[in-house]
Amino acid sequence: MADVRTDPIHQFGIQKLVDINIDGYDVSFTNSSLFMVLVLAAIALLLLWGSSSRAVVPGRAQTVAELSYEFVANTLRTTAGESGMRFMPLVFSLFMFVLTANIFGMVPYFFTVTSHIIVTAALALLVIFTVTIYGFYKNGTHFLKLFVPSGVPAAIVPLVTLIEIISFLSRPLSLSVRLFANMLAGHITLKVFAGFVVTLTGLGAFGFLGALLPLIMVVALTALEFLVAFLQAYVFTILTCMYLNDALHPGH
């Protein structure tokens, strides 16, 4: 019904490609699933094929693979310490998945996997559950010291503990909404300005001139969105590292 060319919401729509129903649940293979698989394929292609030659002097693909690895490894090591390196597969998977999904979203007609709250929420919950379960597994009840910072006067300990608990519980929310909202808002903004260009060019000569402004805006926003795509992947990763640090070293 709506004009697909200028509808900023249409890009987030989910279409079933293959109908699959398991035990009453609709788990159809959709465009979202397709792009998840494409993201996985792209990561596997870049990292596995890129580093398959194992050259001492790396080629381009291997340089990119090594840079990604060292970037995440350094982030994790500086944030969570050497013992945090056991979470490297998780953190690296998260970073590569979010980054690749965000960058894929910048390609016209591509679906942005991370623009759906359920995906970012699932990833955020994965992080929080990992932190909580590993925190209790490694530190036992000592993990609860996370909520009682040392050196706080006894009188305000209940208040501080309450704040710490609220802050801990709001982590999955902030982690998932930050990524989702950035992707969603960015793509809507881009599409709205692009829609202005389409509409204005349909209004004759003056419209063509008027369309220049939103066109420039779209170009600038595209550059900004590439930055946001990387930045949000990085923010998601570094926050994951910081939360993992809490699980590894509570009571800091």
């Binding site: 019904m1 709506a2 004009d3 060319r5 200028t6 509808d7 900023p8 919401i9 249409h10 987030f12 729509g13 989910i14 699959i20 398991i22 649940y25 609709d26 788990v27 159809s28 293979f29 959709t30 979202s32 699933s33 998840m36 698989v37 996985l40 990561i43 596997a44 990292l47 596995l48 580093s51 194992r54 050259a55 001492v56 790396p58 291997q62 693979a65 090594e66 690895y69 060292e70 490297m88 597969p89 998780l90 690296f92 998977s93 590569m96 998945f97 759906h116 709250i117 359920i118 995906v119 699932a122 990833l123 909404v177 989702f180 909202a181 969603l184 829609g195 202005f196 509409t199 349909g202």
Partner: protein, 204 residues
């Protein structure tokens, strides 16, 4: 989150009638009529009917990604980086060793150069002193020879002189004898000789 819901609800109706794709605020009234007809009618990211499918496929993809990273990619890249670090370290050690070798050869070269120079000096010195010795010997021999010749000559001169002097008195006697004979007549050889001897004695 509520902001997004309201934004979504605010935008959705705007899109439906937007033949001109214009301002998203001007069509609130037509929302209800279209919502039923539209697919789901809700803002896609908040449509719970798509959640099971997304979660299901995300789980499959992310587990596959995790296993791939943990079993293949991370060991592979870490292996490359380790191998490179090891190679660089080994090369540095090798370079260090080569440098030490070079230093050692330079030192031994300089040592042998110094030894050779000393030896050359010794040979030169020895030769010089040998030559000087030989020259001295020859000079001494020549000097001795000369001295001997000088002595012989001096002796010869003395002999000649003595003989000459001996002849002087004989000649003087003979001359005296002749002169006296011419003047006064014959005198004996002995008288003449005595007179000469007297004269030469008085002269001295």
């Amino acid at each position: 989150m509520s902001w997004f819901i309201s934004q979504a609800n605010a935008q959705e109706p705007a899109i439906v009638p937007a033949e001109d794709g214009h301002a998203p605020t001007d069509a609130v009234g037509t929302t209800v009529a279209h919502e039923g007809g539209e697919h789901g009618g809700t803002f896609p990211p908040f449509d719970p009917s798509t959640f099971p499918s997304q979660l299901f496929w995300l789980a499959i993809v992310f587990i596959a990604l995790y296993v791939l990273m943990a079993k293949k990619v991370i060991p592979q890249i870490a292996g490359i980086l380790e191998a490179r670090a090891a190679k660089i370290a080994a090369d540095l050690v090798e370079a260090e060793k080569a440098k030490a070798d070079t230093d050692a050869s330079i030192a031994s070269y300089e040592a042998s150069l110094a030894a050779a120079r000393n030896k050359a000096n010794a040979i030169a010195h020895e030769t010089r002193s040998k030559v000087a010795h030989e020259i001295d010997g020859r000079r001494h021999a020549a000097e001795a020879q000369l001295a001997a010749k000088l002595t012989d000559t001096e002796k010869h001169i003395a002999d000649v002189k003595r003989i000459a002097l001996e002849h002087v008195s004989t000649i003087a006697t003979e001359t005296t004898e002749s002169v006296v004979e011419a003047l006064v007549g014959k005198v004996s050889r002995d008288e003449a000789a005595a007179a000469v001897a007297a004269v030469s004695a008085s002269k001295h």
